[in-house]
C-alpha cells in the first residue's frame, strides 16, 4: 500500500512537465470555453455576459448553416483521409522499390512536409490563379477550359482537399515505407514462386500485413483533418458561399468576425464531441482488427 503510494507520487512528479502546461493552456481554455458557451457575450466584453443556458446550443441545432458546416467538415475529412492514404501508399510502394536513385527519390518526394503551410499556400494561390495561374495554362494545353479554382462553389472544396493532401501525404508515406520494410521478404518470394501478380501480392500480402499501420495513420490524419485551420482559412476563408466552412473555420468566423463568443464556443464544443465520436469509432474498429 505504502509502496503504491510512493510509486504514484513519483509518477505524478515525473508528469509535471506535461500536466502543468496542459492545465494552463489546454484544460483551462476548454473549461472556460464550455463556460462561455452558456452565455451570450461579445469579444472584449467578456465581463458583460448574460447567462442563457442551452440557448446557444438550441440555436445551433436549428441553424441550417451549422448542419451544412458539419457536412462540409465530414466530407473534407473523409476525402482528405482517403486520398492521402491512397497517394501515400502508392508513393511508399515506389519508395520501397530498388531502382537506381531511389534514395534521392525518398529524400525529395517528402519535401512538401517541410514547407511551412503559409508559404505553401502563397505558392498554390498563385498556381491556382484563374487568369494567370499555371495550372489553368496546363489544362488549356490539353484541351480543358480554365476554372476559378478557389472562387467557384463547385471546385473550392476539392481544391482545398488537394492542397491539404499535398501537404500531409509525406508523413504518412514515410510511416508506410517503414511498415512495408517490416514485411518479411519470404512472403513475397513464396508468392513469386506461385506466380502471383503485383496486384495479388498487394491485396493478399501487403494490405493484411499493413492493416494496423494503415488504421493508426487513418486515426492520426482524421484528427488532423478535423481540426485543420490555416490551410483552409488562408486559401478560402471558408468561402465561396461558405462551401469550405468547416467547424474550425466556423468557430473562428463567429468569434472574430461576428464577435459572438458564446455561439462560437458552442460550435467548438460540439465539434470536439463529434471528433470524439469519430475517433471512438476508429478505436472500436482497431480493437476488432486486433
Amino acid at each position: 500500500m505504502k509502496k503504491d503510494f510512493k510509486k504514484n507520487l513519483i509518477f505524478h512528479i515525473f508528469l509535471l512537465p506535461l500536466s502543468i502546461p496542459f492545465l494552463i493552456f489546454l484544460l483551462y481554455p476548454i473549461i472556460r470555453g464550455l463556460f462561455i458557451s452558456f452565455y451570450s457575450t461579445r469579444l472584449g466584453e467578456l465581463d458583460k455576459r448574460s447567462y442563457i443556458g442551452f440557448d446557444n446550443f438550441w440555436r445551433l441545432f436549428y441553424d441550417p448553416m451549422f448542419w451544412s458546416t458539419i457536412r462540409t467538415t465530414l466530407s473534407y475529412a473523409f476525402f482528405t483521409v482517403m486520398v492521402t492514404l491512397i497517394v501515400s501508399m502508392a508513393i511508399a510502394l515506389l519508395m520501397r522499390a530498388e531502382f537506381k536513385g531511389v534514395t534521392i527519390f525518398r529524400a525529395l518526394i517528402t519535401i512538401p512536409w517541410a514547407i511551412p503551410s503559409v508559404a505553401a499556400i502563397l505558392i498554390w494561390y498563385w498556381i491556382l490563379d484563374a487568369q494567370f495561374g499555371v495550372l489553368n495554362y496546363f489544362l488549356n494545353l490539353v484541351g480543358f477550359s480554365s476554372r476559378t479554382w478557389l472562387n467557384a462553389p463547385e471546385t473550392a472544396l476539392f481544391t482545398v482537399i488537394m492542397v491539404s493532401v499535398w501537404k500531409t501525404f509525406p508523413f504518412v508515406a514515410i510511416t508506410f515505407l517503414a511498415g512495408l520494410q517490416g514485411i518479411p521478404v519470404i512472403l513475397y518470394e513464396a508468392a513469386n514462386i506461385d506466380g502471383a501478380s503485383f496486384l495479388q501480392k498487394f491485396i493478399y500480402i501487403t494490405i493484411p500485413s499493413m492493416k494496423k499501420v494503415i488504421l493508426a495513420m487513418s486515426i492520426l490524419i482524421t484528427m488532423w483533418a478535423l481540426r485543420r485551420f490555416e490551410i483552409i482559412w488562408l486559401l478560402t476563408q471558408g468561402g465561396p458561399d461558405r462551401t469550405t466552412e468547416t467547424l474550425s473555420i466556423s468557430v473562428y468566423q463567429n468569434a472574430f468576425r461576428s464577435f459572438q463568443m458564446g455561439y462560437a464556443s458552442a460550435i467548438g464544443i460540439t465539434g470536439i464531441i463529434i471528433s470524439f465520436a469519430i475517433i471512438f469509432a476508429y478505436f472500436f474498429v482497431l480493437r476488432k482488427v486486433e
Binding site: K7, I10, F11, F14, L15, P17, L18, P21, F22, F25, L26, P29, G33, I36, L46, L94, E98, K100, G101, A107, L108, I109, T110, I111, P112, W113, A114, I115, P116, S117, V118, A119, A120, L122, I123, Y125, W126, I127, F132, Y137, W166, I174, T175, A178, G179, G182, L220, M223, R227, F229, L234, V251, Y252, A255, M261, A264, S265, I272, S275, F276
Partner: protein, 272 residues
Amino acid sequence: MKLNYLKQQITALISIAVILFPMYWMLNTSLQVERNLFRAVPSFIPIPIQLTAYKRLLNGPSFIWLANTAFVAIVTSILTILASIFPSYALSRIKVRIKKPYLFLILFTQMVPPALLIIPLFVLFRRYGLLNSLWGLVMLNSTFSLPIGIWVLKDFFDTVPSEIDQAAIIDGCSTVQVIWKVYIPLSASAIVAVGTLAFFVAWNEFLFASVMLFDQSKWVSSVGLASFIGFLSTPLDEVLAGALIFSLPAVVFFLLIQRNMQTGITAGALKS
C-alpha cells in the same frame, strides 16, 4: 527486370516533377522580371534572372520576422525535448493504474480544434501581459508539440529492455540517474526526432501567432507572409521570394535530419 527498373524510375521522375512543381514555380516566379509574370503564356525559365525581389526583401521587415521565427522554433524545440523526457519515462516504465487516462488525455489533445482555445487563451494572455511576446508564443507551441513528443519518445522507451533499469538500480543508480545515463543516450535518435517535430510545429504555426502578436516587429514569418495574401500591396515576385526564404531553412534542416527522423519516429510508431 531491367525494364521494370526503368518503369519505376520513370514513375518516380514523374511523381517528383508533379509534387515538387510548386517549389520550382516559387523559385521561378521570384526570379522573373515583373512584366513576364502576367502573360497568357507563362515564362518557365527566368530570363533575365533578376534578384531585385530579394533585394527589396532585405530592406523590408522579412528578416526580423525570420529571426523571430528561428528564435521561437529553436526555443520551442529545446523546451519540448526537456519537458517530454520525464513524462515519457513515467508513462513507459512506472506501473500505476492511472496511466490509461493520461495516455488518453494525450490523444485527446490531438482532437481539440485550436480555434476553440484561442478565445480563452487570448483573455488569459492579456491578463498576464503575455500578448505580443515571443515567449508567450513559445509556451503555447511547446504545450501543443508536447503530446507528439511524448508519444514518440514513450514508444521508443518502450523498446528499451526493462532489465537495464533493474541492473542499474542494483548498481545503486537512482531513477533519475537511470534516465540520464541509460535512456537518454540510448534514445538519441528519438530525442532528435522529437526536437525536429517541435521545431516544425513552431516554424509552421500560424493561428496562435496571428492572434497573439500584433506589432509588426514581433511578427513571425508565417504571420508576416500571410499579410501578403491578396497580392495587392506587395509585388508577386517579392511575396514568393519571401515564401522561398521562409521555406528554405525548414527544407534544408529536413533533408539533413530526414534519415534520423525515419528511424526515430517509425521505430516506435510501428510497434504501437
